[in-house]
Amino acid sequence: MDLRLIAGEPSAAERDAVDAVLGPPGSSWVGGDRGEDAQVARGGHAARSQRHLLLPVLHEVQGTIGWISPQALGYVCRRLTIPPAEAYGVASFYALFGLEPRPPLVAHVCTDIACMCRGSRPNSA
């Protein structure tokens, strides 16, 4: 396992979405403003112990932004000390997460038998 984080900064809106779940960054090294804490950082186990917040964070980004950009994913990884490959694996596993820009409104039609019985088929035409 290695930690080679994705370069590039998230947009302000993406950052706000992540911070809404994880709280503001503890130091400049995980995304705060570069300034007074240039000589100290904490992370390690404390950061990784928030691993369970990965899905909630991805939901928040998807919900407010509409998709998960590489920069947003990179910021999530930096905050949680998660290798990008691992976070990408999670994000790409679920079809409802978008890793490319999507239209503002996306309708999903269920093709399961139960929904077909309830009349979903005409909607998918």
Binding site: R4, Q39, A41, G43, G44
Partner: protein, 554 residues
């Protein structure tokens, strides 16, 4: 330390310890195999603290990162020590039983309050306090260090300050607790073991003080050994300066490019009467040589042993014949001896090793057959029943303690020799990257997708202040010389801190900038701290239009 030049702990203990300090080490990039052992420990819950002015790849894994000002390691250590003592967390029983000099040491660190330590190192007091308590309270803890500790003018004091912390807390001589210098090549440890250091015979037997050992070697070799320490590399260059050293025989080393203050080094080498270089590549030093002896690649074209950072002696086997005119090193040395009038015969590597075993007690039990059967043995291994030593200095915990007590050493904080001022306001520190090695002799011949050539790495703030863009060529000057290199914006650096490697001396001679301020005992130069100035280059003059008058080049 305490008489034996090697790390105290095994890799298995690294994986099973509770707390690791990586001090002056970016093991993630420079000791990647060792770092895997660290990561196993971290994944099993060990806490990791990293002390490094740069926020490196290693620091990204840390529970706490100390971005100290370059050269304030002793200030940090002394502050931690005072905090441990004042909190009553020092191991009084161990100190009383197994150490000496505690009172003087405790008195010497008394002035290092958390506030003073924070002011001197730049690291907040609460992190220093937290780490001091965590280290002292851990069941098992180790301190691992590399060149961030030793490439300073006060290298030996820097090492002492780390040993002091281990003695204070009893974190040495036990399973999972220890002090470990990480070795930069597969066989740096082996070089020391075999006496390739100026003050020791093989097996760390002192040339001046150990008359008994000297007599054994004299009898075996049929020659007299002067009871006098030789010169280390830095002293050799001083002797060249004085005109006392006129001839050198360089084996597997590239001092023309690896030494600090490179311009001066070249000048000294060029002034010698005779240079012999024995190497697998035609290095810059070999280009200066009168005689080049092409040698074999020790990891695949030679039989023998190597010793790694956990003191494990392992067999190396010959898989290929050396190409062209290259010979095995043993063959070269024996043939050279024959030309000089001494018949060394033509021994196999095992015969050479068996002679070594007969003279170096710490290797005595390491027959080739045992090294093969056991997958290597960790020294000391005194006879053929001895399984070797997983960790050193267990004697400090024996009851009663055997041998002399381990001494505390009072050490004073001193800033780097090359001071920052208005003319040279930026601190340059040098180091290595994952994909390259030292002066590039061994790694330059292989391509790597990670390699991007030499650059001056600067913080985004400094780049903005200087008005330079990523990739822009700038002039870098120290009190000794000046080079040009492209800038790379690196947000792992803080304002006022710059980084360069020494991997590409043919592109950018970084060691033109570094200072030959050496530790008197270890002879290591302060590669980690130069004062530099960075200047934007004037815009390149537009080329002469076609048809203009051509000015002949002088």
């Amino acid at each position: 330390m305490f008489g034996a030049g090697g790390g105290t702990s095994s890799y298995q203990e690294v994986e099973e310890t509770d707390l690791i300090f990586l001090w002056g080490s970016n093991a993630r990039e420079t000791h990647p195999i060792f770092f895997h052992h660290v990561l196993k420990a971290v994944n099993d819950g060990a806490r990791l603290y990293v002390v490094d002015p740069r926020r490196t790849g290693s620091a990204q894994w840390a529970d706490g990162w100390f971005g100290i000002d370059v050269g304030t390691d002793i200030a940090l250590s002394n502050t931690m020590a005072r905090e441990i003592i004042h909190a009553g967390l020092h191991n009084r029983e161990f100190i009383d039983r197994a150490t000496s000099g505690f009172q003087e040491y405790a008195a010497s660190v008394e002035e290092w309050t958390l506030e003073r330590g924070a002011r001197e190192t730049g690291v907040p007091a609460d992190l220093i306090r937290e780490a001091a308590h965590a280290y002292a309270n851990a069941d098992r803890a180790m301190i691992c260090w590399t060149l961030g500790i030793t490439e300073h003018h006060n290298a030996v004091d820097n090492v002492f300050c780390l040993i002091n912390l281990a003695l204070l807390t009893g974190h040495v001589g036990r399973y999972g607790s220890g002090l470990n210098p990480l070795r930069g090549q597969n066989n740096v440890q082996g070089g020391g073991d075999m006496g390739a250091i100026p003050n020791k015979l093989p097996g760390f037997q002192d040339i001046e003080r150990d008359g008994e050992a000297r007599a054994r070697f004299e009898q075996a070799w049929g020659a007299t050994i002067q009871p006098k320490y030789g010169w280390h590399l830095t002293q050799m260059f001083a002797a060249m300066e004085r005109g006392e050293l006129r001839t050198i025989y360089v084996v597997g080393e590239n001092p023309a490019q690896s030494e600090a203050d490179a311009k001066h080094t070249m000048h000294l080498l060029e002034g010698l009467d005779h240079i012999v270089v024995q190497d697998i590549f035609l290095t810059r030093t070999a280009e200066l040589a009168d005689v080049v002896l092409p040698a074999s690649a020790s990891w695949c074209e030679a039989e023998g042993t190597v010793t790694n950072s956990e003191r494990r002696v392992q067999r190396v086997r010959r898989a290929l014949d050396p190409p062209g005119q290259a010979w095995d090193d043993i063959e070269i040395v024996c043939q050279l001896a024959a030309r000089l009038g001494h018949d060394f015969g033509s021994p196999t590597s095992e015969q050479v090793w068996d002679e070594l075993r007969s003279l170096s007690p710490m290797h005595a039990g390491m027959a080739y057959s045992r090294l093969e059967a056991l997958g290597g043995i960790q020294w000391p291994c005194v006879d053929e029943q001895d399984p070797g030593a997983q960790f050193l200095h267990g004697r400090l915990w024996a009851d009663p303690v055997t041998g002399p007590p381990a001494p505390f050493n009072v050490v004073e904080h001193e800033l780097p020799v090359d001071e920052l001022d208005d003319d040279f306001p930026i601190r340059l520190t040098t180091g290595r990257r994952l994909e390259s090695y030292n002066t590039g002799v061994q790694s330059g011949g292989y391509s790597s997708p990670l390699r991007r050539g030499e650059s001056l790495d600067l913080s985004p703030e400094d780049c903005e202040r200087l008005g330079v863009a990523d990739g822009e060529e700038v002039r870098i000057s120290s009190r000794r010389g000046s080079v040009t290199a492209p800038v790379r914006i690196d947000d792992s650096l803080r304002p006022g801190l710059a980084f360069m490697t020494l991997h590409f001396p043919d592109e950018v001679e970084t060691n033109v900038l570094t200072i030959e301020a050496t530790d008197p005992a270890s002879g290591t130069a302060e590669f980690k701290a130069a004062a530099i100035r960075v200047e934007k280059l004037p815009l390149a003059q537009p080329k002469e239009q076609a048809g203009g008058v051509a000015v002949p080049a002088r």
